[in-house]
Amino acid sequence: MKRRDFLRNSTLASTAILTPNFLKSSAIASATRLASRSGKILIVLQLSGGNDGLNTVIPFGDDLYYQNRPILGIPKNEVLRLNDHQGLHPELSPLRKLYDRGEMTIINSVGYPNPDRSHFRSMDIWQTGSPATENWSTGWIGRHLDNVGTGKPTYHALEVDDGLSLAMKGATRTGFAMSQPERLRRAVRNQRLHGLKADHTAGNPSLAYLYKTLTETTEAAGYLFEQSKVKNATAEYPKGAFGKDLKQIAELITADTATNIYYASLGGFDTHVQQRNRQQRLLAQYAQSVSALVEDLKANNLFDDVLIMTFSEFGRRLKQNASGGTDHGTANNVFLMGGKLKAAGFYNPAPDLTTLDNGDLIHQVDFRRCYATLIDDWLEGNSMAVLGQQFASLGVV
């Protein structure tokens, strides 16, 4: 028996026994249970708090960098040089090999016009994909889900977290949030939910929607739990929640789960005070986790099917502040990683440190061009419909 067939059977068997009443009476009960993946995979990694991009990809060839950061600047001899002008923070050394193998693209100075320096607002702009002058209430991935339609399972886009980010909420469809499969399964398998019957929701769309969501959640919980047990990740992930999250993603992908978009976050980058140690710790956690994920994907010949994007809501000010930290800035670098990049290395020149706006970098690449690239060139979606206007692809994937 093939692995996939076995899985299908075992999933069916376990859900059949435990199917609550509201599932039995529901027409949509079995629509998504047999799913396995088709199409490419996108993993979005969010660095929350505003990662200091200038100390992540370091413009060591620019004297202005050291003039503005006499204490915080990373000494030239510690920088992992990628070319004669820019290099990586030493803690990013696990990513060095990806760069050298042509599996990493660095896009400098990504941002948007009229940058907002509030975490809250700027994260909203990144997550919704709106112009800075407009307030949108749906996320860019959510609107992509709206477009791909009802044929996809509810976990087509999965956030490894307790709650769902705005990025994952569409007008008619939403992504799925799960931090631990075991916990999710426990939460839906409880006595109080067991007796519910969805046979009285006709004529009440709100109630029908609640039952539909509950049904899909119960289905997904069973499926994802089974999927999470199929494969064990073999690479070594660092301790901490982020490593665990990426391990979870690796295990689901290698189990051939019918999820095409994954979303995970690492927080704590708001380094106004004593940045050096803190960012060092966070970047180490980030790089080691990503490197382990890539290793697991490669071991299963899956890295060609995967694209990983890393972003933060803004970068930080060029000039260090008086307390060993940096304050909120604007444009920042974005990383793309994958086994099948069309153009690896640096996409564009290093940030211009001579021409600043109020002490901050001026963006060169609109962040929505990154989204358009992912949606059109990778997910075979329609970026025009998602973003409301046409953004040129970066042509790198």
């Binding site: 426990r186 109080r192 007796g195 929607y209």
Partner: protein
């Protein structure tokens, strides 16, 4: 619809549902008297909240570390204002209608506030005008220090106007898009120049920053100031329609009956009396039509306040209320943006729904009950839920079940739906079963 069913519907929409002891009183009244009682309670002057001290972390000679400490302290102060408000929504001695109206206006005049003093002041402003005159409410909001800061009117100066407030006052607060031009926005911004606030959080007019020149706004010309702009806006037929449509969507049905909105607006624009508008809606026959009953998804704050009210939660950990708001997607004084919370299905995804369905159990469990209600929560990682430290009084619930068996489902769930549950004979378990159903999420 029976009088009893009408009373339940009214108090679900105009308030946060009824506590068992409230219902034991109201069930003896005619519907007409129950409606009068709802409005009569708003006549009792609402206690003005006392603002706490706001630490001054704007002063210059302050170390970044000290500033962060003070900011942290101030975040906790804002959280306290937030929690006190939720407790008011749940308290039977407060006017449920007034609190619901404040919540509605907070979503309408959506505003993020980081200072507890300013949050308190804004809430007092909403409270003073929530059922009063809309012009006065709008004017008070235009002069409200939180709003002035949130929409950058501090930066609105004669020589460098900032259009943020002027734009939103028309787009989101009164008229809606398509009822004004970009020139109107620019001219209105000039009229609001110099409307500022001082350090102690009072409205402060700065004459030197005000543009006293002639403006042309929505077809009228004069040396208008902000109050004139508000008056001209309210002369537009679109203003009353916009407000009535928003009220209708919130209190009656997301699917708007335009003819009814028109009717309401025609009456409303005569004197912009909000209390009268609400009374007209709640007294109408159509408000109790089947299509307008039991189809509205409660917002997170409505849900939490409702559970607290119906279970007579006497005490609850403040941090727990904040964490619930965050996890469920509605933190008071922190709307997603100036457009407010979209509401409806937007509240629901797989994680918020499961949390909602487990919420009553968590509160029961936090209330130190010994029976094993929700074993799955025992292992829940959301430790905070267990730290809700709720103290509740279930006597009224037991009394209701004892005196009028069979009325608990009607008290807790909207009239038109029933989850077909086999209910336990124990009143507390019965309440838990009902409150753990999808039906309890709607009103």
């Amino acid at each position: 619809m029976t009088d009893h069913a009408k009373t339940h519907h009214l108090y679900r929409r105009a308030g946060f549902g009824l506590a068992p002891q409230e219902w034991l009183k109201l069930r003896e009244m005619t519907f007409k008297d129950a409606l009068e009682d709802l409005f009569a309670r708003t006549q009792v002057p609402a206690g003005v909240l006392k603002a706490g001290e706001t630490p001054d972390y704007t002063r210059k000679n302050i170390s970044p570390k000290e500033r962060m400490e003070l900011q942290k302290q101030e975040r906790q102060n804002v959280a306290l204002v937030n929690v006190n408000w939720v407790k008011r929504m749940a308290a039977q001695k407060e006017s449920a209608l007034l609190e619901k109206m404040c919540l509605f206006w907070h979503g309408h005049f959506a505003c993020e506030t980081k200072f507890s003093l300013l949050a308190t002041k804004q809430l007092n402003t909403l409270r003073a005008h929530a059922l009063g005159n809309f012009r006065e409410l709008l004017l008070a909001i235009a002069r409200d220090p939180s709003m002035i800061r949130y929409l950058n009117n501090q930066q609105n100066k004669k020589l460098s106007p900032n259009e943020n407030f002027a734009r939103e006052v028309m787009e989101l607060f009164t008229l809606g898009r398509g009822n004004y031009t970009e020139t109107d926005v620019k001219e209105a911004a000039r009229a609001f120049t110099g409307w500022s606030s001082n350090k102690t959080g009072e409205f402060f007019f700065r004459p030197r920053l005000h543009d006293y020149g002639t403006k042309t706004f929505l077809g009228k010309t004069g040396d208008f100031d902000g109050a004139d702009i508000i008056d001209i806006i309210l002369e537009q037929p679109a203003a009353a329609e916009f407000i009535c449509r928003k009220v209708y969507r919130y209190f009656v049905n997301e699917k708007v009956d335009e003819a009814r909105v028109q009717e309401l607006a025609d009456a409303f624009r005569k004197d912009y009396d909000i209390g009268q508008l609400m009374r007209t809606i709640f007294s109408s026959d159509w408000f109790y039509d089947g299509e307008n009953v039991g189809n509205r998804i409660k917002s997170p704050v409505e849900l939490v306040a409702g559970i607290m009210r119906q279970l007579n939660v006497r005490e609850i950990a403040p941090q727990g209320i904040i964490i619930l708001q965050q996890a469920l997607g509605q933190v008071l004084f922190r709307p997603p943006n100036v457009a407010g919370w979209p509401g409806g299905r937007y509240w629901i995804d797989n994680s918020t729904l499961l949390l909602r369905l487990n919420l009553a159990a968590a509160i029961f469990q936090a209330g130190e009950f010994n029976f094993e209600l929700a074993p799955e929560l025992e292992q829940e990682n959301k430790r905070q839920l267990k730290r809700l430290a709720a103290v509740m009084d279930l006597e009224p619930l037991k009394q209701l079940v004892a005196t009028s068996p069979g009325e608990l489902p009607e008290l807790l769930l909207a009239a038109t739906s029933s989850p077909n549950l086999k209910l336990s004979p124990a009143p507390d378990l019965q309440a838990l079963q009902l409150m753990s159903s999808p039906e309890y999420q709607i009103c």
